[in-house]
């Protein structure tokens, strides 16, 4: 028996355990997938008739004739919030004492903390990927070509990791799974103080100002450029920067918070 396993092996074993937990609770995955798919169908059904193909040649033709392409990023951003489950996984382990069991073993504390974040990341990819498949089925077609799906997914992944970091930090600081769930409350103002239904140029007054300071705006605009406009590199790169910065800040915050919360008293 090797007395000291590598960090990566420990991380892999702990991640696999959490994946098993996710598989054992399939119903926990449904609400977020349902809401994300619901956004896609309802917004396309309600607004697609006005801003879709029939808007061609009018000032409302911001979707280039395909409203699914325009609204799909909103659903993808919604699906990426599923990364917020990371904090719940970690706090569940702390609350149930599983975390303490692992702490009493000679394994890395960081493997115990990073495993739920990794599972959160997998969850984001799964849910955002599923919404993208639904989008494809109902007519989504990226302006940049098939690579656009992977680009949108990569932005969603970064954005989801941002929520994962936020939920881990909120969870360990509050010490409760309710605290970790608070990540989802951040989502609604973030999504709706942004150019959710129309381009930013069409927003007015305080909402236009708020959306300019909301990083979600740049994430949605970046995905929309990929889906609707094509290779508008400055807009696309702003999305990567916004999502990447959000992830970097919250993950750093999460690691510091989790490290402090699990120090020996």
């Amino acid at each position: 028996m090797e007395s000291n396993r590598s960090f990566l092996t420990q991380l892999q074993i702990l991640t696999k355990r959490l994946v098993l937990r996710v598989i054992r609770r399939p119903l926990a995955e449904l609400p977020n997938i349902f809401i994300s798919a619901f956004f896609l169908f309802v917004y396309d059904g309600a607004l697609g008739g006005v801003f879709g193909g029939s808007a061609q040649g009018t000032p409302f033709d911001f979707a280039n004739g395909n409203f699914v392409n325009f609204i799909l990023p909103v659903s993808i951003v919604s699906a990426s919030v599923s990364g917020g489950a990371s904090g719940i996984y970690l706090v569940e382990d702390i609350e149930s004492g599983v975390f303490k069991r692992y702490q009493s073993m000679p394994i890395s504390k960081w493997a115990i903390i990073l495993a739920p974040m990794l599972v959160g990341a997998l969850r984001v990819l799964l849910q955002a990927g599923l919404i993208m498949v639904i989008g494809k089925i109902i007519g989504a077609d990226p302006a940049v070509g098939a690579v656009g799906y992977f680009m949108v997914l990569s932005i969603a992944f970064l954005w989801g990791m941002g929520f994962a970091g936020y939920s881990v930090a909120a969870g360990v600081r509050s010490g409760s799974s309710q605290g970790a769930q608070a990540a989802s409350f951040l989502f609604f103002p973030a999504l709706f103080l942004a150019p959710t239904f129309v381009p930013r140029e069409a927003l007015r007054g305080w909402l236009a100002t708020a959306s300019a300071y909301n990083p979600t705006t740049y994430v949605i605009e970046s995905m929309r450029a990929i889906m609707v406009d094509g290779w508008v590199t400055d807009v696309i790169s702003k999305g990567y920067i916004a999502a990447g910065s959000f992830a970097a800040i919250t993950l750093t915050f999460a690691v510091i918070s989790a490290g402090k919360a699990t120090e020996k008293a």
């Binding site: 355990r17 004492g97 599983v98 303490k100 009493s104 073993m105 394994i107």
Partner: protein, 327 residues
């Protein structure tokens, strides 16, 4: 080499509101291959002591070593040597017993083939082979405790820490666990356990430390502790408060316990008639009297001044009532 050497350890918790001395001064030594019991009520400092020795809490003051390895400065090396089953270490209820053993084996460094083999061995050892593929949430309290014990044995530790291993179990499940703990001791494993059950300490522990309010107040084998009281315990029962108050003036060395007075004397049976005569002369009515050899219960009463209320038979899944000074 000593299995465990604890010298004047202290643990103080400081918050903005107040400072709590959970462990004031605890010292003891445990030889390899013995079962050592820490006996005391809830809040006595037993669990805090165990958390410090298992590297999960820092030691405020004092020194402790496990097989000569310093607990505070070499925590990773200590963890290699010990198995831990604490009251609040959890079990993942969504996984099966087999999955939990396998995952724990892998984390301890076994390869996949060896993990499967060790999982099978441990499932048999703790009698969970038939329930191996059921999710843990379907296990009874006794099965979960056996699983917990099994998980702490994955790496064949030299020293095993068990924090109240039978709290909340029915008498049958308790006895099964006791037999398993004794069997482990017989294979050379040193066991340090905490308990609030006198019977458990008496039955299992080769040596016992009684811990109260963060201090070790007595230590020795069960027989040594009982002998330390000296002689027999005579118990007088009374019907009225008035009688018991008057009797205390006659039996000046007695200890009151509800409507009883207990006195420890040499050759108790022969002294009963003399005491009864004195009480009757003083106009006190004694409803019953008996003499017995001291029990661990008597020792506890003698050294702490109160009775350990958690010593009655526990009920499955419901922790037994105690003095409620939870810490």
């Amino acid at each position: 080499m000593l299995a465990v050497d604890v010298k004047n350890i202290k643990k103080t918790f400081t918050s903005k509101q107040d400072t709590v001395e959970a462990v004031k001064d605890v010292s003891f030594q445990v030889e390899q291959g013995e079962i050592f019991g820490l006996l005391g009520p809830n809040g006595a400092g037993k669990s805090t002591t165990i958390l410090m020795l298992t590297t999960l809490l820092s030691i405020t003051d004092g020194k402790a070593s496990i097989l000569g390895i310093d607990v505070e400065t070499q925590d990773k090396q200590v963890r290699e040597k010990i198995g831990v089953a604490l009251q609040d270490t959890g079990i993942d209820n969504l996984l099966t017993g087999r999955e939990l053993f396998f995952t724990t084996c892998r984390l301890w460094g076994y390869n996949k083939t060896d993990s499967e083999k060790r999982t099978k061995e441990l499932l048999e050892l703790v009698g969970l082979t038939e329930a191996a593929d059921r999710r843990v949430k379907t296990y009874s309290g006794g099965m979960k405790r056996r699983l917990d014990l099994g998980l702490s044995l994955v790496h064949s530790p030299e020293i095993l820490f068990l924090d109240e291993p039978t709290t909340g179990l029915d008498p049958g499940s308790r006895r099964v666990l006791w037999e398993e703990i004794k069997r482990l001791r017989d294979t050379g494993v040193t066991v340090i356990l905490t308990t609030q059950y006198l019977e458990e300490a008496d039955e299992l522990a080769d040596r016992i430390a009684i811990i109260d309010e963060g201090l070790v107040v007595a230590e020795g084998t069960s027989d040594e502790l009982k002998a330390s009281i000296g002689g027999d315990v005579i118990t007088f029962s009374f019907e009225t408060e008035e009688d018991i108050t008057k009797a205390q003036q006659v039996l000046t060395d007695s200890v009151q316990e509800k409507m009883e007075l207990r006195i420890t004397v040499e050759d108790g049976a022969s002294k009963i008639p003399g005491y009864l005569k004195e009480l009757t002369t003083a106009g006190i009515e004694v409803s019953s009297v008996s003499a017995s050899k001291p029990t661990l219960d008597d020792v506890f009463l003698e050294v702490t001044g109160y009775r350990l209320e958690g010593s009655e038979e526990p009920v499955e899944e419901t922790p037994a009532p105690t003095r409620g000074r939870g810490r």
